[in-house]
């Protein structure tokens, strides 16, 4: 093995929200021997990559931020990507994380050496390998842009843009533009594009439930209050949290409240769209919550602009000049925007990970990913995941879930380091029992109610979502119960 340098206590992979958050809490818990390996040249992860026009979070910023890094200065209820990225930058500065960052480090593999109790990280471009006692895999589920599997996609000769890799140099003025996809990114991009482009055609496969989004500018006095009396900010955060938490009753589980959510969305549709056929095209045929709920008050009006058209014909293929749909027409474009989401790692691992006895995480997760409480995996000692399997919320802030994971894994790492453990690994039986329960509980959720979504594998296995309240998720991670683990 060519790695010779002194092993790190912790290697963090990814400098997005999770990686930076973990770094902050490690430092606060007195752990300083760590490094953050980031493939890009700046921090921010998903928010660095998603800079398309209109990019914003659909969870209120007050809640889409860490409780240990409050920000009184959020300018709006739902902040845009630039402001969120600014928040991540400010955390790096405020908590002194910059010295730990190693940019341009694309991790190509992780191998565990059981005798030494160390992970070896390999990097692209012939960089020297690094060893670490523990690894936090904070690469995130939404880090790899996914192009749809459409026939002839490579034959298209016009300009192609993926929402997660926006081309800011491309001028849409006067252009004929297609948007493929009508998910969370698309409903933000389309209202911006119709303002610039000559024409926009929106290719929809399945319509989603769209709820109105009330986005207000934060008053200067409110910011001042939050700054001077931080408890008010915490209270506001709590209020948002419990508001979202209550939505779980209709969104996570299929209950009479699901109908209420659907009714609100349908009223929104009816209020904004007059044409009955367009309304029919925009009405989902699955239960609210089954796919990610969309939040937008601008999307429907944008679709009805003179220069915009919704196309619901199936896409037959892409041709050199545009998109051929099954009604026999070739729709020609100067540019196609793919708002088609990400390659979510619900199967296989984001990078090759070789655990104890040479086992491969990609092989073990081929049928769908699983872990113990979403954070650790049997057979892969001293490895900790953020946003691991079955940790996705459908109704609340991902940051609340992430914060719970970070608390748990930093506590665990502290135990590993303080006790000088060689291996810290969840017990197989506990992990199996945990997952049996999770899958059983998932059966009653809206996500498993019959629609196809990025939450599920092709076979319908749900490896992404947590079937419960955010409070339950946080509670199960509140303390590291050593009885769940094998310590050596």
């Amino acid at each position: 093995m060519s790695a010779v340098s002194k092993p790190l206590d912790v290697a963090i992979i990814g400098a997005g929200f999770a990686g930076i958050g973990a770094a902050i809490r490690l430092r606060q818990k007195g752990i300083g021997d760590f490094a953050i390996f980031e493939r890009g040249d700046r921090v921010g992860g998903t928010w660095r990559d998603n800079t398309y026009p209109g990019a914003a979070c659909d969870i209120p910023s007050r809640l889409y931020s860490y409780s240990f890094a409050p920000n009184p200065d959020w300018s709006r209820t739902y902040s845009g990507s630039a402001e969120i990225l600014g928040y991540i930058d400010s955390m790096v500065a405020e908590f002194g994380i910059a010295p730990y960052l190693r940019f341009g480090h694309t991790v190509t593999g992780l191998v565990f050496d059981e005798d030494a109790g160390l992970w070896t990280l390999s990097f692209a471009g012939g960089r020297r390998k690094v060893r670490a006692r523990t690894v936090i895999l904070a690469s995130g589920p939404l880090s790899n842009a996914g192009f749809p599997d459409l026939p002839g996609i490579d034959s298209y000769e016009g300009h192609k843009i993926h929402s997660a890799r926006w081309d800011h140099d491309y001028d849409f003025t006067g252009k004929k533009v297609a948007v493929v996809g009508t998910g969370a990114s698309a409903v933000q991009i389309i209202p911006e594009l119709v303002k610039q482009a000559a024409s926009v055609k929106v290719f929809q496969r399945t319509p989603g439930w769209v709820l109105p989004r009330v986005d207000r500018r934060t008053h200067g006095l409110t910011k001042q209050l939050y700054r001077q009396l931080p408890v008010t900010q915490s209270l506001a955060r709590e209020a948002w949290f419990w508001g979202h938490e209550s939505v779980a009753l209709g969104v996570v589980w299929n209950t009479p409240l699901t109908r209420v959510v659907e009714r609100v969305a349908l009223m929104h549709l009816r209020a904004q769209v007059r044409d009955p056929w367009l309304r029919r095209q925009l009405t989902p045929d699955f239960r609210a919550g089954c796919k990610r709920l969309l939040m937008s008050s601008d999307y429907y009006p944008a679709l009805q602009r003179e220069n915009c058209k919704l196309v619901t014909w199936p896409i037959a293929e892409l041709s050199p000049h545009g998109i051929r749909t099954a009604e026999g027409i070739e729709h020609r474009f100067d540019c196609i925007v793919f708002a088609t989401g990400f390659e979510v790692s619900k199967q296989g691992a984001p990078i090759p990970v070789t655990g104890r006895d040479g086992r491969s995480l990609a092989d073990e997760w081929r049928g769908g990913a699983y872990a113990f409480k979403s954070v650790t995996v049997a057979g892969y000692p001293n490895l900790f995941l953020t946003f691991g399997p079955n940790s996705g919320p459908g109704h609340n802030s991902a940051l609340v879930y992430m914060e719970a994971q970070i608390e748990y894994l930093t506590d665990a790492i502290k135990i590993v380091l303080e006790r000088g453990l060689r291996t810290f690994e969840p017990r197989q039986d506990r992990q199996d029992r945990y997952n049996r329960r999770i899958q059983r509980r998932l059966n009653a959720t809206t996500w498993n109610s019959g629609c196809r979504s990025w939450y599920l594998t092709e076979d319908g296995f749900n490896a992404t979502m947590y079937p419960g309240f955010g409070t339950q998720f946080a509670r199960q991670l509140a303390t590291v119960d050593l009885a769940d683990f094998q310590l050596r």
């Binding site: 044409d275 009955p276 056929w277 367009l278 029919r280 045929d285 014909w313 199936p314 037959a316 293929e317 041709s319 000049h321 051929r324 749909t325 099954a326 009604e327 026999g328 027409i329 070739e330 729709h331 020609r332 196809r452």
Partner: protein, 306 residues
């Protein structure tokens, strides 16, 4: 052996064609007999509108489909019927039948059916839609397209209708497979579907639109100088195919549709007194009293490229 819907979906996806695949300016348009040319315009317009009506029927089926695969198949069929309508419009343009950007108006019976489908199709059961649509496809599409391919020498039209026919054969194969599927339902379910379907007042409105449409088409065919036997032969096919798949006979709606098609092809049946009267009555409805056309019926285009 049960029908493989997944296989059918892959076949449908692999057999897609576009208007741009056809050379619309190729020679041959002049082969249309001038006497036929004049009569052909209203005929083609009707044909095109019936494809459009079929498209809407499949859109409703997509919402009722019991499996995601079948729903996807119907989404394609919806689009394919629209493609047929677009291609037929493009043929009309090729033959110089359109004035500028003109899209021919649907006749009053088509308008009534469009209005009915727009209002009620999504509320109808799969067994209703799944038996009536094949009947319409066999009767109208089958007979009318057969007429065009027999009578028109234009090689471009022949190429277009060959493609349309290939699509239609997949539609019919699926239609019959679905009827068979419906036939496997329990007697209780079949009874509920039947009664539930017929007690709706909307069905009467549907009948009042559908009945004159069939007879109107028959009249149009006769006016073209074609024997109405062609239409009858096509409708008889509906019966034959049903006989080949006895399980479909369990579907009460299939039997009703079959019985009705028997009346239609029997010129002596008293049914025609009513149906012909309805053609006259509907023909007298002034345009201003007809409902506005829904936006889905305005998607027609002859342009291969948009």
């Amino acid at each position: 052996m049960s029908f493989d819907f997944d296989n059918m979906l892959s076949k449908i996806k692999s057999k897609q064609w576009a208007l741009a695949d056809i050379e619309w300016d190729a020679p041959g348009a002049e082969l249309i007999d001038p006497a036929l040319h004049a009569k052909l315009k209203p005929f083609m317009a009707d044909l095109m509108w019936i494809e459009n009506v079929g498209a809407r029927g499949f859109a409703a089926m997509a919402k009722k489909a019991p499996t995601p695969t079948l729903a996807e198949i119907y989404r394609y069929f919806h689009a394919e019927e629209q493609r047929h309508a677009n291609a037929e419009l493009a043929l009309m343009r090729r033959w110089g039948m359109l004035d500028g950007d003109e899209i021919p108006e649907p006749n009053v019976n088509v308008k009534l059916v469009i209005d009915f489908l727009d209002k009620y199709a999504d509320g109808m059961s799969l067994s209703f839609l799944g038996t009536v649509i094949p009947m319409l496809e066999v009767a109208l599409d089958g007979a009318l397209i057969k007429f065009v391919t027999d009578e028109i020498a234009d090689p471009v039209a022949q190429e277009v209708f060959k493609k349309i026919n290939n699509d239609e054969s997949r539609h019919l194969a699926t239609d019959y497979a679905v009827m068979e599927l419906l036939g496997h339902a329990s007697v209780r379910k079949l009874a509920i579907d039947l009664v539930g379907g017929w007690v709706k007042p909307s069905l009467m409105i549907g009948l009042l639109s559908y009945v004159p449409l069939l007879n109107k088409m028959r009249d149009n065919i006769v006016e073209m100088g074609v024997s109405e036997d062609k239409l009858y032969a096509a409708m008889a096919r509906f019966k034959q195919v049903g006989e080949r798949t006895p399980i479909a006979n369990r579907v009460p709606m299939y039997r009703i549709v079959k019985m009705h098609s028997g009346w239609v092809i029997n010129r002596e049946h008293p049914y025609h007194l009513v149906a012909d009267a309805l053609v006259k009555i509907t023909g007298a409805i002034p345009d201003r009293l007809l409902p506005a056309q829904p936006t889905w019926s305005k998607e027609l285009t002859y342009e291969p490229v948009a």
